[in-house]
């Protein structure tokens, strides 16, 4: 289980954020003593840090610079500061991503998951049943056969696989697709899912994706 460290002085956001991350299967720790921010963050030995810019005692950008001297743990700046300047400063101090408030929580979760995968702190699931998943190549293979997935189908399959056994809402699937510049509409999502089902059935995985009415889909 990956551990995420939350640096956020607004109590209501901090607790909701902790709940959001816990619901998504992350362990969380929050900073409460802003006097010794850097030490506490480093001590926690987290896999990823969510860092606000407007903080008591210290500016988040300065804090980021201090952390970066000691560790290369991924950092996502999460802030209500919406100017390009703040983003450029944060990125130049070594932030890995920059998200402005109020953000879509699904986007935050997608970015967190992407960063954890990149820093290989989260195991990438490369197998589904007896199939090997080749994300870069866009294909699924068993010992004999190979099926090619379109970009959309792969995005959908990846998200379902990452959350295998949990319900993934259509809204989350849409967010992931749009975030990857695939601006498809509702009908197209339904079509993509049924095509994905057919392809999985062809390679021997019948009934892999189940529909949960009004909730979403689940990969069994």
């Amino acid at each position: 289980m990956s551990k995420i460290f939350i640096v956020e002085d607004e109590v209501s956001i901090r607790s909701e954020l902790a709940e959001l991350l816990a619901n998504s299967g992350y362990e969380t720790e929050s900073l409460t003593d802003f006097q010794h921010s850097a030490e506490n963050i480093l001590k926690s030995d987290s896999d990823l840090i969510l860092l606000d810019i407007n903080l008591p005692h210290l500016n988040g950008e300065m804090l980021l610079r201090e952390i970066r001297r000691k560790t290369d743990t991924p950092v996502i700046m999460v802030t209500s500061r919406t100017s390009e300047t703040d983003e450029v400063i944060s990125m130049s101090y070594g932030a890995d991503d920059y998200i402005t408030k109020p953000y879509n929580p699904t986007i935050l979760l997608l970015r967190i998951s992407a960063l954890l995968k990149r820093s290989s702190k989260e195991n990438i699931k490369n197998f589904y049943r007896n199939l090997q998943v080749n994300t870069a190549k866009g294909s699924l293979t068993d010992s004999i056969n190979e099926i090619i997935l379109t970009k959309n189908e792969m995005i959908i399959f990846r998200l379902l696989l990452d959350r295998q056994g949990q319900i993934v809402s259509r809204d989350d699937l849409m967010t992931a697709l749009w975030d990857n510049e695939e601006y498809i509409n509702d009908n197209a999502l339904t079509v993509n899912i049924s095509r994905l089902r057919t392809k999985l059935a062809e390679i021997g995985c019948e009934n892999a994706i189940e529909t949960r009415k009004k909730q979403g889909y689940i990969l069994i």
Binding site: L20, N104, T106, M174
Partner: protein, 337 residues
């Protein structure tokens, strides 16, 4: 400065001189001074008078002419006193001093207002950040409680849009440069905007087609993201019930510029409204008949485009399409290697 008018202004002095000369002439005649001598005295007297007037005219002409031409050249005329040297004649010096003090008072006045606007804008920015905190908390709360999520999230998004409008209105009105120009792809700005507006676009079942958005432009990414967000909002408001809604976003590169098109197949803009749509508070026919419009959206984005140095214009055919076209200049001086 015209000599004729100057002379007309001196008419009293000239008459006094003539009267004085008549008295002198009579006086000289009484003492039987010869006509030749009187002529010489008269010649000297009038020469002195003429030279005096000419000398005065030239001195003043030099000062006032340069004052007038400086004034014409100046964009902010109240800075005139800073441009002109004090003249070498007394009246002019008095005039210069008075001018200096009025101009200074004007500058102080302008600065006080500028400072006030600046502080107001700073407060707006601060206020916007404050408002965004509870909005963020609400967004996550909605996500954590999926049973209420959808419709509440949409309202929160609406509030966030309103708040952003205020912030960008303040940014666009302010002359201070608080943007940051760097090279970005059109794709990145469009994507951020599209993801933000996804729920609304999906609700209207909009087909989105993008083409050639890998082109790079020099701009402020956050501002462009807002501008595109506004365009999406406008399209959503004015789709036609007769067709499936569609937005085409594409870019064309020329030698000197990158031209970005945001084209929808909505109800279009009447030809008579087209020249005015970027004006403040202009709502036009669509703004009255279709939906409540404040007439601020396009005005704000035109202001932002002006600050960033992009050209923005609209083309439309009623009931066929609206195309908002933004032209980004290519400036190689600004481009990092």
């Amino acid at each position: 400065m015209k000599f004729g008018k100057f002379l007309a202004d001196k008419i009293a002095e000239i008459i006094i001189s003539l009267i004085a000369w008549l008295i002198i002439w009579n006086f000289l005649a009484v003492f039987h001074i010869g006509i030749w001598q009187i002529f010489i005295i008269g010649f000297t007297y009038f020469s002195a008078e003429i030279i005096k007037i000419l000398w005065e005219f030239l001195r003043k002409k030099h000062f006032y002419d340069s004052l007038i031409s400086d004034c014409e050249k100046l964009d902010r005329k109240y800075l005139l006193s800073a441009m002109t040297d004090s003249p070498d004649f007394y009246e002019g010096q008095i005039f210069s001093e008075v001018l200096y003090s009025t101009d200074k008072s004007m500058c102080d006045h302008v600065n006080a207002y500028r400072q006030q606007t600046r502080e107001f804008q700073e407060y707006i920015e601060l206020w916007v950040h404050e408002v965004k905190l509870p909005l963020s908390a609400l967004m996550i709360m909605c996500h954590n409680n999926p049973e209420i999520s959808g419709k509440y999230t949409q309202q929160i998004r609406r509030i966030d849009d309103c708040v952003e409008n205020v912030m960008y209105y303040a940014r666009g009105e302010n002359a201070e440069k608080d943007y940051l120009i760097k090279e970005i792809t059109l794709k990145s700005a469009f994507n951020a905007s599209a993801v933000k507006n996804r729920a609304e676009l999906q609700q209207h079942n909009v087909t989105i087609k993008t083409e050639n958005l890998n082109l790079k432009v020099m701009t402020d990414g956050k501002w462009l993201e807002y501008i595109i967000g506004q365009l999406i909002g406008n399209s959503l408001r004015y789709f036609s019930a007769e067709r499936d809604p569609e937005i085409n976003i594409y870019a064309v590169e020329t030698d000197k510029s990158v031209i970005f098109h945001f084209r929808d197949n909505g109800i279009g803009i009447p030809e008579t409204d087209l020249p005015y749509i970027f004006e403040k508070s202009y709502t036009g026919v669509n703004g009255h008949t279709h939906t409540k419009s404040t007439g601020m959206g396009l005005y704000i984005i035109r202001n932002l485009c002006r600050s960033l140095g992009h050209d923005i214009k609209a083309e439309s055919v009623r009931n066929v399409y609206t195309d908002i076209i933004i032209t980004f200049g290519k400036n190689n001086f600004l481009r990092p290697d």
